[in-house]
Amino acid sequence: MPITEADVEKVAQLAHLEITPAELKLFAPQMADIVAYVEQLNALDTGQVEPALGGLTPEGEATDSARDDTIAASLGQKKALAEAPDAAAGHFRVPKVL
């Protein structure tokens, strides 16, 4: 399935990227090359193979990561908002939604 400019435009939309016409011309053939390269996997018969899920080792799988559900100190409003491009009245402020 060769990737077309229309495919790239569609994924850019899904990924919230407003790419330019020049970028589209650049990315479409590059992505087509990469996708053609990864499609070499189709040559392998993996019908009976259980997929790997995540990167954990058996010891990592066996590690119990649950903790008690207790209240602990958090960043706090002031610190959490300190790096925001636009904050007001204890909130993150964004452009209008509708």
């Binding site: 990737i3 495919d7 790239v8 994924v11 850019a12 899904l14 990924a15 919230h16 990227l17 407003e18 790419i19 330019t20 970028e23 650049l26 990315f27 590059q30 992505m31 090359d33 990469i34 996708v35 390269y37 990864v38 499609e39 070499q40 996997l41 189709n42 392998l44 993996t46 193979v49 259980e50 997929p51 790997a52 899920l53 995540g54 990167g55 954990l56 080792t57 058996p58 010891e59 990592g60 066996a62 590690t63 119990d64 990561s65 903790r67 960043l75 610190k79 959490a80 300190a82 790096e83 925001a84 491009p85 636009d86 993150f92 964004v94 452009p95 209008k96 939604v97 509708l98």
Partner: protein, 480 residues
């Protein structure tokens, strides 16, 4: 100043004997970074306050007064974390990564943040929004990526040790290009809390140093379970330094002949084969091993890593931190413009590839298939390690290439990682060891791969080689 004196043990000895002070050591590191950064562009931030902090460190700590450089995708409170990207830019995280907390507790002094490929995506460090790092061995060449600034800082003698992150080879490849040691630990060995996520099933914090011993020392400090990172494993942390002097007689070294074939630079091949012969002289046995699915590793990697990146980088939207595009009167438009202006081309390519392979109708053909082949690669390694203690390969098919040489061909760039990505897919540890210079004086490295939690074996093997063939060459750009 000799290399010996500038390793952790040498520096600590000189501080505790009164020959120098922690402040003077950190000041020298700070000044070297200031002086060499115009040539190397290895640092995105050099902290003026570091020498002052050196006066307050715990003098008994394992790393008391040792200056350390940190890749700019690991959070250090009070410093920037840009990830080499416009979209984070001058972001100052309000907390320390767990690995940083542990370094500080041991008395280390973070002296600066190092340049890297944007969001750790790259093999040459040319994808940084703040310009490429230059290789201290030849400033017309790349240092390797993505942790190129950390590798260059250690190679140029600015710091004895530095941290990077390794998702597909981002510590080992630049270590090899710059002539230093570089470790990617077992998945789950180190906490990633405070490491900006790229490929969550692949990412590990790694270590650069000029000696095996220093890599081991730093791993002993940062490794272990962390309740802030559920992927850290409950596995005891050994005293890695005590493993170093062990005899390697009878150790079984696996040779995957298929990885010494086409595309391997003849000088790299000769250098790695010479290293294998040194190991034989030291009493190790060599056995041929097969990794039949290793040839698929780049294809598997660029499906899994881009899919995970597309998810992880969805959080950068101009709302809570970092850059926000101007003149976007509606929310959705603001997201799109912010991401368009904030991300560089390689990051956009990978986000779109990841979005493509995860999109409706394609998931099984790409992502599910890649996870199946990943399972086969893991099985290959399990089988190979039944007949050997560690596997030896080149770290990179070539020495450092020229700046600009591969920037227009992303696929050719991806193929640099052919020897390193398998370790991330399998979760196993890998250590790059410098083993010589090419005819035009560029470093060459070999890579040791071992089973899960075999870092002690890798250190023992690396130390044996280092003792037999110490890498004493220094690049033309080196701090005096």
């Amino acid at each position: 100043m000799s290399a010996k004196k500038n390793d952790i043990e040498g520096l600590r000895g000189r501080i505790s004997s009164g020959e120098t002070t922690a402040r003077a050591v950190v000041e020298a590191s700070h000044d070297a970074a200031e002086n060499l950064n115009a040539s190397l562009n290895a640092f995105l931030e050099i902290d003026k306050g570091a020498p002052n902090r050196a006066e307050a460190v715990d003098k008994e700590g394992a790393l008391a007064g040792i200056p350390i450089a940190i890749k700019d995708n690991i959070c250090v409170e009070g410093m920037q974390t840009s990830c080499g990207s416009i979209i984070l830019g001058n972001y100052h995280p309000p907390y320390n990564a767990t690995v940083i907390e542990r370094l500080l507790t041991a008395g280390a002094v973070v002296m600066g943040k190092t340049n890297c490929d944007e969001f750790a995506m790259g093999s040459s460090n040319e994808n940084s929004a703040f310009g490429p790092v230059r290789n201290p061995w030849d400033t017309t060449r790349v240092p390797g990526g993505s942790s190129g600034g950390s590798a260059a800082a250690v190679a140029a003698g600015i710091v004895p040790v530095a941290l990077g992150s390794d998702t597909g080879g981002s510590v080992r490849l630049p270590a090899s290009f710059c002539g230093v040691f570089g470790l990617k630990p077992t998945y789950g060995r180190n906490s990633r809390y405070g490491l900006v996520a790229f490929g969550s099933s692949l990412d590990q914090v790694g270590i650069f140093a000029r000696t095996t011993r220093d890599v081991a020392e730093v791993l002993s400090v940062i490794a272990g379970r962390d309740s802030h990172d559920a992927t850290t494993a409950d596995v005891a942390v050994p005293n890695y330094k005590s493993e170093l002097s062990r005899d390697i007689k009878g150790a079984r070294l696996g040779l995957p002949r298929s990885l010494f074939g086409e595309g391997l630079d003849p000088e790299v091949r000769a250098s790695v084969e010479a290293a294998v012969n040194i190991y034989r002289d030291l009493g190790a046995e060599t056995v041929e091993v097969e990794l039949p699915n290793a040839q698929y590793s780049i294809a598997v990697y660029y499906i899994i890593a881009t899919a995970e990146a597309a998810s992880n980088l969805a959080r950068f939207d101009g709302v809570r931190y970092g850059f926000r595009a101007e003149e976007a009167p509606a929310l959705r438009q603001m997201y799109r413009k912010t991401r368009e202006e904030g991300f560089g081309p390689e990051v956009k390519r990978r986000i779109m590839l990841g979005t493509y392979v995860l999109s409706a109708g394609y998931y099984d053909a790409y992502y599910a298939k890649a996870q199946q082949v990943r399972a086969l690669i893991r099985k290959d390694f399990r089988k190979a390690f039944e007949s050997c203690d560690a596997i030896i390969t080149p770290t990179s098919p070539t020495p450092a290439f020229a700046l600009g040489e591969k920037v227009d061909n992303p696929l050719a760039m991806y193929l640099n990682d052919i020897y390193t990505v398998t370790a991330n897919l399998a979760g196993i540890p890998g250590l790059s060891v410098p083993c010589g210079l090419s005819s035009n004086r560029l470093p060459i490295g070999f890579q040791l791969l071992g089973p899960n939690w075999s870092e002690p074996t890798l250190f023992k093997l690396a130390q044996a080689y280092e003792t037999a063939r110490p890498f004493t060459e220094r690049p033309p750009i080196f701090a005096e």
